[in-house]
């Protein structure tokens, strides 16, 4: 029988480990792992949504599996096509609902409680430093912002994870991303990650971790770190991960009550390479169709007309994002001929934004505000484009046909750039508003 290496007594040469390698080692019950090693690790959370979970349930049942490993360590979030956009989507949600009830899944989030999964999971305290999380959604890498190892997988992995609490992993090499300096006004986490993807390409971190470090980390708010880790996948990375610091602990307080472990990279950890970014030099950055790596400073693209603006998604639907967008839209009007759609990522964010008056700012400016949903990001609903239309969106992918027909175009940008562009109707540097 073929079994992963952690089930054998193989000698492993002692060498420094990255944060990711240390987390995976612990999950596999090993003192030491090295890049390239295959192992089977214990999972702290298995996640799925209304598109991927039904496929997982089908595989789970087809294989004759009957029980889940831990009803408290599975999260099912109905966020992609909800509130249901059509009959077929409603049927998929019903499959999730029935399974969740049948197996007494504790963390099942339906309309009214749900939010976009990658904003909701940290908010609910379901991700903590040192934990190992898989999700049948590629942007599961978001929770690396909390010092967790979290990565996107497919539905079969989700089914196997739900049944066994285990997943197989190939221990990744890492790219060390050294951040120095502080961000300028109107520059945020989105600009950092777009800049990084532009530097290394959409497969620049293929099969690797992106491990962030350096004295620039401390200046980044948690919402910026979530955005940065969220788009690690857009560089092909297995995961992105930040070290745990005071801001992380502050975020965890009141959310996570169970014990957690912060892992630091060894000083002699071996990296595939090191990339340095001086945060103070970054300009607001956009990615032109049809790859997230097709980046330009906003200055190079300014003046390009757009017909739709989307502010939201698992990348940029958090409170800091909404505050930055509202600060620009406040007292202004969305340009004629532009549809501006704002989607708070969770109910809690929505409520807080309302209490702060941000929702009023958006509506008074002429924007449409939606209940949480992934909707337009993947061309599902709540803002699908028509032929030859251009959108500027705070989402994460600008692939062909992602938000509408193959002739429609997406420019990826930060909430500040998206909000500024909504006012002018053309791609705009927020500093000029």
């Amino acid at each position: 029988m073929n079994v992963p290496n952690n089930l054998r007594n193989e000698e492993v040469r002692l060498m420094g480990m990255t944060m990711t390698q240390k987390i995976l080692a612990r999950a596999a019950g090993l003192d030491q792992v090295q890049a390239g090693q295959l192992l089977e690790g214990k999972l702290d959370l298995v996640l799925g949504n209304d598109i991927t979970t039904p496929v997982a349930i089908k595989e789970f049942e087809k294989a004759g599996l009957s029980t889940v490993f831990d009803q408290d360590k599975i999260a099912i979030v109905l966020d992609h096509s909800t509130p249901c956009k059509d009959i077929k989507s409603a049927q998929l949600c019903a499959i999730c609902r029935d399974f969740a009830h049948k197996h007494h899944i504790t963390h099942f989030y339906d309309v009214g409680q749900m939010g976009i999964e990658h904003a909701l999971i940290p908010e609910k305290g379901l991700a903590a430093p040192g934990e190992v999380i898989i999700g049948a959604d590629s942007h599961t890498c978001t929770y690396g912002a909390l010092g967790a190892f979290s990565t996107g997988v497919g539905s079969t992995d989700m089914a196997a994870g739900m049944a066994t609490g285990l997943a197989w992993f190939k221990v990744p090499q890492a790219i060390q991303v050294k951040l120095t300096g502080k961000l300028s006004p109107y520059v945020s986490g989105k600009d950092v990650v777009l800049h990084l993807i532009g530097m290394i390409g959409v497969d620049g971190a293929l099969y690797q971790s992106l491990e962030f470090c350096g004295d620039g980390v401390a200046s980044l708010e948690m919402d910026d770190r979530f955005t940065i880790c969220n788009m690690a996948i857009e560089a092909g990375a297995k995961n992105g991960i930040f070290p745990v610091d005071e801001k992380t602990v502050e975020y965890l307080n009141g959310r996570v009550e169970r014990a957690w472990t912060a892992f630091e990279a060894d000083e002699d950890a071996v990296y595939a390479r090191t990339v340095e970014i001086d945060l103070s030099t970054l300009r607001p950055t956009v990615a032109l169709p049809h790859l997230p790596s097709n980046t330009q400073p906003v200055d190079e693209v300014a003046g390009k007309p757009i017909q739709q603006v989307v502010i939201g998604s698992c990348t940029n639907g958090r409170l800091k994002d909404l505050r930055e967008a509202a600060a620009i839209l406040r007292g202004k009007k969305v340009a004629d001929g532009v549809r501006c759609i704002v989607i708070p990522a969770t109910q809690q964010i929505y409520l807080q934004a309302m209490e702060e008056g941000l929702i009023a700012d958006f509506i008074q400016a002429g924007a449409a505000v939606s209940t949480p949903t992934c909707g337009p990001c993947l061309g599902g609903h709540m803002g699908v484009l028509s032929d030859n239309e251009w959108a500027i969106a705070t989402t994460n992918r600008n692939f062909v046909g992602r938000m509408g027909p193959t002739s429609s175009m997406i420019i990826l940008a930060s909430p500040a750039v998206a909000a500024a562009s909504a006012i002018t109707g053309v791609v705009t540097d927020p500093a000029t508003i």
């Binding site: 073929n2 294989a63 059509d86 996107g152 497919g154 079969t156 196997a160 092909g236 692939f399």
Partner: protein, 161 residues
């Protein structure tokens, strides 16, 4: 058999657009496979055909619907210069063969007759007479594929019940 050859960064949104994810049965997925990159694919593909891609094949979304769609079309395997990692493990987990071999990608053109041997990783272009060696899978991964997918291999090991 036919070769369908595409470039770099073939993403899962073009393999199976999100607008079809609300119907995840194999027949429906197959009927829209590659629609946004190659409108003729779904109507012309036949069992035994091979898809050849450049680097980072299957990038983007984690949707397992992507390898499922290609598999449901009867495609024998995907040969690419490299695979995006979620697509890579999804293909393995559903027991769908993929082969990583940059030289083969450069040495295969549409219209060529190609044979593949999954056991040895040898890819032969019968039209040009060239043979290529794909990177072998680790033993553990071969075990998953031999059992017909991850869940079956976990059951065979007595881990999943």
């Amino acid at each position: 058999m036919k070769i369908y050859k595409y470039g770099d960064n073939v993403d899962t949104d073009v393999i199976i657009p999100a607008r079809y994810l609300n119907a995840p049965d194999e027949k429906s997925l197959a009927s829209h496979c590659m629609e946004d990159i190659d409108a003729d694919f779904a109507t012309t593909v036949e069992p035994g055909d091979i898809v050849v891609g450049g680097s980072n094949f299957g990038c983007g979304s984690s949707r397992e619907h992507a390898p499922l769609a290609i598999k449901a079309c009867g495609v024998k395997c995907v040969i690419a210069k490299s695979f995006a990692r979620i697509f890579y493990r999804n293909a393995i987990n559903i027991g769908f063969p993929i082969m990583e071999c940059p030289e083969a990608v450069d040495g295969i053109s549409p219209g060529d007759s190609v044979t593949v041997d999954f056991a040895t990783g040898v890819i032969e272009n019968e039209t040009t007479g060239q043979t290529f060696q794909a990177a072998p899978f680790p033993e553990f991964v071969n075990g998953i594929i031999e059992h017909g997918g991850l869940l079956h291999s976990l059951k065979a090991r007595g881990i999943a019940k």
